[in-house]
């Protein structure tokens, strides 16, 4: 049977693989040889699950959004990743990777961050484990995301500005990769999304898959059904989406919807809708869809949400798009911001702007009254308060 999961060579269909300079080969090879062995061991699983429960606060609720469901005449559930420690799903992955790094004997952690959420989640687990932590962040993002920079510093991490190229997430990722090239033996690189060379997309998806696994159990309990009709999530790099979709990838009764950021509009030149605007190429060691010039230079995407403005998407998602297993819908800044307000005032939940994009699908698509729809409520809106204040003149 055709699978939408990763194959033995690290590809999802034609996408994925490890297109890396030779200098990175030993690091990536060490991970590839060990990640499944370590993460499937009993001691790892025990430690991982215990931390997810006691430290992150899992399982996160699967909440039936009653008022929203009535308004749209369908059954809407929210998987409350916004209630995780540090405010988003990102920490599921950083807990997994820090445990892995410890088992591999690594003494130093590096990570990239755009909006700062993954940086905070990484700094948090490094503080938890007492491991040295260096976060690369674009100089432009450091200015835009001052509170998260302060959080990382308070947690004991060193924040290093990426000053090359466009000085944003992709450049922070380049700098982190360069650091890893220069420190191949003692350092583990915690990538924050389902991007980068194999095995990262698969490894991060597996650590995030707890989102989908819990959803199955919770639906069973609430609805006496083991699967929803739809799973919907926003996609920047795609880790929250991968986590929710993971157990359903090859279950065709469950429809998958990926929501991308259209920014100011698909045709405005200020957008992050990679599936529509991107072409196949190589970014950060992975063959995937990415936004680039005709000449193959990687371009800077735009979205009001800092977590969605990555120029590529994970290879799993590129394959979901290409094979049509997933439906891709893009949502503008305006619609996303509107939904930030709607969710706040209908359900009393202020979502991250990334997350708001996903909910805007309710205005784009008609659902049946008996459809069970699970949204990944991937993050809370505290970090976006400045943007909301400025936008709505609150």
């Amino acid at each position: 049977m055709k699978t939408h999961n990763v194959d033995s060579k690290g590809f999802y269909g034609e996408f994925g693989g490890a297109f890396i300079p030779e200098m990175l080969y030993p690091n990536v090879e060490e991970l590839r040889n060990n990640y499944l062995k370590i993460s499937s061991s009993k001691s790892f699983k025990n430690e991982f699950n215990k931390l997810l429960k006691d430290y992150v606060g899992r399982p996160t609720p699967l909440y039936f959004a009653k008022r929203l469901s009535e308004k749209y005449n369908t059954k809407i559930y929210l998987k409350r990743e916004d209630l995780c420690h540090t405010g988003a799903h990102k920490i599921n992955n950083t807990i997994g990777q820090i445990l892995l790094a410890k088992k591999l004997g690594k003494k130093r952690i590096i990570a990239e961050t755009g909006a700062g959420q993954h940086g905070v989640a990484t700094a948090t687990v490094c503080a938890l484990m007492g491991i040295k932590c260096i976060i690369y962040m674009g100089e432009v993002d450091i200015k835009r995301q001052a509170p998260n920079v302060a959080r990382m510093k308070m947690l004991g991490a060193e924040v290093r500005p990426a000053t090359s190229g466009s000085k944003t997430l992709k450049d922070a990722t380049n700098e982190a990769i360069r650091d890893w090239i220069n420190n191949p033996v003692n350092t583990h690189y915690i990538i924050g999304s389902v991007v980068g060379p194999h095995p990262y997309p698969d490894m991060v998806a597996r650590f995030q898959s707890v989102i989908g696994e819990e959803t199955i159990n919770q639906l069973q309990e609430i609805e006496n059904k083991s699967k929803p009709d739809y799973v919907i999530a926003c996609v920047g790099g795609g880790s929250n989406a991968a986590g929710l979709f993971y157990p359903f990838l090859d279950n065709f009764d469950v429809k998958i919807i990926c929501v991308e950021a259209a920014g100011k509009g698909i045709d405005t030149g200020e957008s992050a809708a990679t599936s529509i605007l991107g072409k196949t190429g190589i970014i950060h060691g992975s063959k995937t869809l990415l936004m680039q010039s005709n000449d193959g230079q990687i371009t800077e995407p735009y979205s009001i949400s800092a977590g969605l403005d990555y120029p590529g998407i994970g290879p799993m998602h590129a394959n979901l798009f290409k094979s049509k297993r997933g439906e891709f819908i893009s949502i503008t800044d305006i619609d996303a911001m509107k939904w930030g307000l709607i969710l706040s005032q209908t359900e009393g939940i202020i979502p991250a702007i990334e997350t708001s994009h996903a909910f805007a699908v309710l205005d784009k698509k008609k659902f049946k009254p008996n459809d069970i729809i699970v949204f990944n409520c991937s993050g809370r809106g505290d970090k976006d308060l400045d943007t909301y204040i400025e936008y709505f003149k609150l």
Binding site: I181, V185, G296, Q297
Partner: protein, 253 residues
Amino acid sequence: MNRINETFINKKNILSIYFTAGFPKLQDTMSIIKELDKSGVDMIEIGLPFSDPLADGPTIQESSTIALSNGMNTNILFDQIKDLRSITELPVIIMGYLNPMIQFGIEEFCLKCKECQIDGLIIPDLPVDIYHDQYQSIFKKYNLHNMFLITPQTSEERIRFIDEVSEAFIYMVSSFSTTGAQKIFGDETINYFKRINKMNLKAPLLVGFGISNQETCRVASDNSDGVIIGSAYINCLKSSGIKATKKFIEGLR
């Protein structure tokens, strides 16, 4: 057999110089090649600039950013070097990242290289296994040699495989690092050079990354078939311009 192989047969202590096409000025490509040829280098590497050069350090990243903002792209480069063989008979290699080549079309790219009489390619983010499975037959068709990198961390088994796939030379990365000039090599680096030499590989070895002066040049050449210099030359172009090339090269010999 092409110009690269002949150079290794006929010359010792090879000096290969890298520069970024489109830096310092968009139209400098042919002038730099002429100047390098006159200055007595043995091989020339033209860098096709890329927005996200992962394997490179700050110097080459900066020259790439400037080259791109000067308007350099793949079409312009091929147009600039269409009469390459009227100015030099040295082996010429294009060094670039895979993404711009994929957008140009791999086969189309190789065809253009052949038309311009380019001898080989260095593509740092094209791993040897994928080259071997998907690209080697295309490269061969256009008589292009592809060069691979090895590092102090590369396993013996993998070095043997790279040696087997290599048609011209192996690019021996001097240390754990991205590209960039260093002043001296430590014992660890010299032991690594010696370890690789003892393997008696069929492909000749050129040392690159971190070579900047007579001292690093000499140590590297003593332990290999020659050296590749990039960042130090870019710094020379940046501070003193193309006319300083001859003096820079003489300072290395």
